[in-house]
């Protein structure tokens, strides 16, 4: 954490979706803090609420979603705010890139136009000026021959190039917060590395706070400064990258690390069971049904995050386990 004011502050966010069968509690009380120039890796399985949290921050959830809590970007509250105000912040102070760059770009608009649109919706700019700036931005994200390419269409670009375009769009207005929702999941491994470089470059060049959402711990290890692990709509562990990887304290985090393929590891040990039904999440610690160390105490109150060994953990038995199981 830096001394400067955090660019993104989420406090006690709760998101519920009403459905035919009841209310899905996608996010059940999540806090997030991101400082300027810092990269936060958010890790979790499908259903953990990791994407929903930040979609809510962007105001991109369906209108049927119930959102409670606070989201502040550079001190400006975004929950319970009028739509027009939200719109003026979106794309300007906080922007987002998504998983599948092919479907995320409008197939009938030129690339340059799609970047220009971002510029002109938040700045007074002529078409020509916006176009010029778009070409510059395409250059910044590493697209070769940006001027020619700007007149082309998404289907003429490769996956990696398209994702760079998405990044160019996202940074067009120099946002304080950039949210990357699984940006490399749909790309080849070799291209992944390039995109990660681009994002890191952006992080440092623009001094933006970056949230990198992923299920891939390897990526997190490589580029994140801090890590936040989510499960069943809550944060279960949080801290500096090195601390989390060296001595994870929550059984879920340990499980995730143990299930990574690694040299020397003969067998993969996946986490048994399946993510919980968010209609009726288990009482107490939601990881309880799959946790090898679960005991009665885990079924009590929902465990809050508390500091331990320099990071924060939500396992009530964390200290015990450190002793009995040793550091993972």
């Amino acid at each position: 954490m830096t001394e400067e004011q955090p660019v993104l502050e989420i406090r006690d966010l709760r998101v519920t979706f009403p459905t035919e069968s009841g209310n899905v509690q996608a996010v059940r009380g999540v806090d997030v803090t991101v400082g300027p120039g810092e990269m936060l890796g958010v890790v979790g399985e499908s259903g953990s609420g990791k994407s929903v949290t930040f979609l809510a921050a962007m105001g991109l959830l369906p209108k049927t979603a119930k959102i409670e809590g606070s989201v502040k970007v550079h001190g400006q509250e975004l929950v319970d705010v009028h739509n027009n105000q939200m719109r003026s912040q979106r794309g300007k102070k906080i922007s987002m890139i998504f998983q599948d760059p092919l479907s995320a770009l409008n197939p009938t608009h030129k690339i340059g136009h799609q970047v220009s649109e971002m510029l002109r919706s938040h700045n007074e700019m002529s078409k020509a000026q916006a176009w010029e700036r778009s070409v510059e931005l395409l250059d910044i994200v590493g697209i070769p021959q940006p001027r020619t390419r700007a007149s082309q269409y998404p289907h003429e670009f490769s996956g990696g190039m398209r994702q760079r375009v998405m990044i160019a769009i996202a940074i067009a207005n120099d946002p304080d917060v950039l949210i990357a929702d699984e940006p490399t999941t749909a790309l080849d491994v070799t291209v992944q590395a390039q995109i990660l470089d681009v994002i890191q470059d952006i992080q440092h060049r623009f001094h933006a706070g970056v949230v990198f959402i992923t299920h891939d711990l390897g990526v997190v290890a490589r580029i994140a400064d801090r890590v936040q692990v989510m499960y069943a709509g809550r944060t279960v562990e949080r801290g500096q990258v090195d601390d989390i990887f060296r001595h994870p304290t929550h059984p879920y985090t340990r499980g995730l690390l143990a299930s990574l393929p690694a040299l020397g590891r003969e067998r993969l040990t996946p986490i048994p069971g399946a993510p919980p039904n968010m209609l009726r999440p288990p009482s107490g610690c939601a990881f309880r049904p799959r946790c090898p160390f679960a005991q009665e105490i885990c079924a009590g109150e929902i465990p809050p995050l508390r500091p331990l060994l320099g990071l924060e953990t939500a396992c009530v038995r964390a200290e015990e386990l450190l002793v009995t199981e040793g550091v993972a």
Partner: protein
């Protein structure tokens, strides 16, 4: 693009050959011109019949008959109708004009209304408006044009007149102008067009409101709309520049084809409302077995369809950059 178009136009010629040949055979078999001639002139002598046959190239095999017809056709020697012995072209031309007026107007009106309804439906799926519009569209599709035509005629000619105690119907229910009228009077013309346009427009509105709704709903699910929203641009811009821009592509191409089908497609409406267009022309010619009238008519219809398809393909390529014309 130019290459594509010229290639397609070139292809039109052999296509026309094949299709007109098949059509010729079909009509020739089904509508023997000699029979029709005899029906009109039952006491024609053998010599006269032979003379008729010679003049119209009706001797020899089917294939040779086709070629003699073809020869006549391309040299603009379209002969005269069997019944009434009138030149074919002037009547056909007038019929074409009438159909185009009725068809294009009805299509324009129908598309505007239909697409608007479809858009509104898609923006509020499963709302009262949407359910109502869907039901109305279904009913519209289910009512055959002749039913709506007759019911409208009944209503305007009889019922409304009786209710309002008028001596003359509120809206004319047949013809293009009042009998005996000469010259061009746009207001009068319009009045006579109201009912037939309504009948045609009902079909168009019903069909296109559903298309638009479906197409827009599909686009609504697209990721690029979310990206657009993430840019913070206004909902209106998202609707027009992003959603509609993409949703209209399939609609435009289908509309192009439908417009091509207008040429021969208004048979029922034209007949019921005594609107002497292409459809009415066909029906009369068919009833009379009037071969010289039927063939040119067919050619025009086929030409219309082929050109409309070409237009649709071109439009598709223009509107969707992903489509490459070879």
């Amino acid at each position: 693009m130019a290459r594509f178009v010229s290639r397609r136009l070139l292809w039109t010629i052999p296509t026309l050959f094949v299709i007109t040949f098949l059509v010729f055979i079909a009509i020739r078999i089904g509508t023997d011109p000699v029979q029709s001639y005899l029906r009109i002139n039952p006491r024609a002598s053998k010599a006269k019949i032979q003379q008729y046959k010679d003049k119209n190239g009706l001797n020899g095999s089917m294939v040779s008959q086709y070629f003699s017809w073809l020869h006549h056709f391309v040299t603009f020697n379209w002969g005269r109708s069997i019944k009434g012995n009138r030149p074919v072209w002037p009547e056909l031309k007038a019929a074409m004009a009438n159909t185009l007026v009725l068809g294009l107007l009805a299509t324009a009106i129908g598309l505007v209304i239909g697409l608007a309804i479809g858009i509104l439906s898609a923006m509020r799926p499963r709302s009262v408006f949407d359910e109502g519009a869907t039901t109305a569209a279904f009913v519209g599709i289910s009512i055959p044009p002749y039913v709506s035509a007759i019911l409208l005629q009944l209503f305007f000619a009889i019922t409304l007149t009786r209710w309002l105690g008028l001596s003359k119907p509120v809206l004319p229910t047949s013809g293009i102008y009042p009998p005996g009228h000469k010259g061009f009077d746009p207001v009068l013309r319009a009045k006579y067009l109201i009912l037939p346009i309504t009948v045609v427009a009902i079909q168009i509105i019903a069909v296109y409101s559903r298309y638009m709704r479906a197409s827009l709903l599909e686009v609504k699910n697209s990721d690029y709309l979310r990206t657009a929203r993430a840019k913070g641009i206004s909902e209106k811009r998202i609707l027009v520049r992003h959603a509609l821009r993409n949703a209209l592509i399939p609609i435009v191409t289908v509309a192009a084809i439908d417009i091509g089908a207008i040429i021969g497609g208004l048979i029922i409406t034209e007949r019921i409302f005594q609107n002497k267009g292409m459809g009415d022309f066909f029906l009369t010619a068919y009833t009379n077995g009037d071969f010289p009238q039927l063939m040119p008519w067919m050619v025009f219809v086929v030409l219309g369809v082929i050109l409309a398809n070409l237009l649709a393909d071109v439009l598709y390529a223009v509107l969707d950059p992903r489509i490459r014309l070879d």
